[in-house]
């Protein structure tokens, strides 16, 4: 499934309404869960909500979203901890550069992907991450005015 969006054209596979829907619902849950929670705790929950709703909106069609959904559902407090899963590695082009290794660590599920798949997943992940940041920024801007 390749996106046909080009610079300037919105990615047809990226649904901002779904992003808004999931994130607002998650924020409501955070608010409901413990109204008097500490700032640090609420901030951490909001961060998890950001990644979880981003993954939910993107759907299970991507490695990164599946990995995030699995991580965040099983134990929300351990988002930053690496859950290592031993998977048989597919044959890869020998690009052994540190850049690629860094990318593998940054993109959820990137470790066990072939080079081409990694590049595709990265593009998708960046698009959604960008949209999520824009959404959060809009909310902050609006409610800070």
């Amino acid at each position: 499934m390749t996106a046909t969006g080009s610079p300037g054209n919105p990615n047809p596979n990226l649904s901002k309404p779904m992003l808004v829907h999931h994130f607002l619902r998650a924020l409501a849950r955070v608010n409901r869960a413990a109204p008097k929670q500490s700032h640090a705790r609420r901030s951490r929950r909001i961060r998890c909500a950001a990644y979880a709703s981003m993954a939910a909106a993107a759907g299970p069609g991507r490695r990164w979203s599946r990995v995030l959904l699995r991580r965040l559902r099983s134990s929300p407090s351990s988002h930053r901890r690496r859950i290592s899963v031993r998977v048989a590695r597919p044959p890869r082009i020998a690009t052994a550069s540190s850049r690629v290794e860094t990318l593998r660590r940054l993109v959820p599920g990137g470790r066990s992907l072939g080079y081409c798949s990694l590049l595709e997943e990265t593009a998708d992940y960046v698009r959604w991450l960008d949209a999520q940041v824009q959404l959060m920024q809009s909310l902050v801007d609006f409610f800070s005015s």
Binding site: S6, P7, L24, R25, L27, A28, R29, V30, N31, R32, H39, R42, S43, R44, I46, R47, A50, Y51, P90, P91, I93, S97, R99, V100, T102, L103, L106, V107, G114, Y115, C116, L119, E120, T122, A123, Y125, V126, R127, L129, D130, Q132, V133, M136, Q137, L139, V140, F142, F143, S144, S145
Partner: protein
């Protein structure tokens, strides 16, 4: 030979190009010159790291806003309604 091992350089270049187009304007090279794959990968890593930091920072700020939801301002009222499920 499986189709997976016939990944062409052209396909890789296309994917790298696509990544380059996602980078913010400052990181993009002006003009038509295509940056090297290594450069694009480096910029992409930096961009993802900065996006992660922004999520952290914006989560903090949203946390502050939600903490002050009890106030009488119009914004607080809207926020309360928005988060009521």
């Amino acid at each position: 030979m499986s189709s997976r091992s016939r990944i062409t350089e052209e396909e890789i270049n296309e994917l790298i190009s696509k990544l380059q187009s996602l980078l913010p304007d400052q990181a993009r090279r002006r003009g038509s010159s295509r940056a090297s794959a290594t450069k694009v990968l480096k910029e992409t890593c930096n961009y993802i790291k900065s996006l992660h930091r922004e999520v952290d920072d914006l989560s903090d700020r949203l946390s502050d806003l939600m903490a002050s939801m009890d106030s009488d301002s119009p914004q607080a009222e809207i926020l309360r309604n928005l988060l009521r499920s």
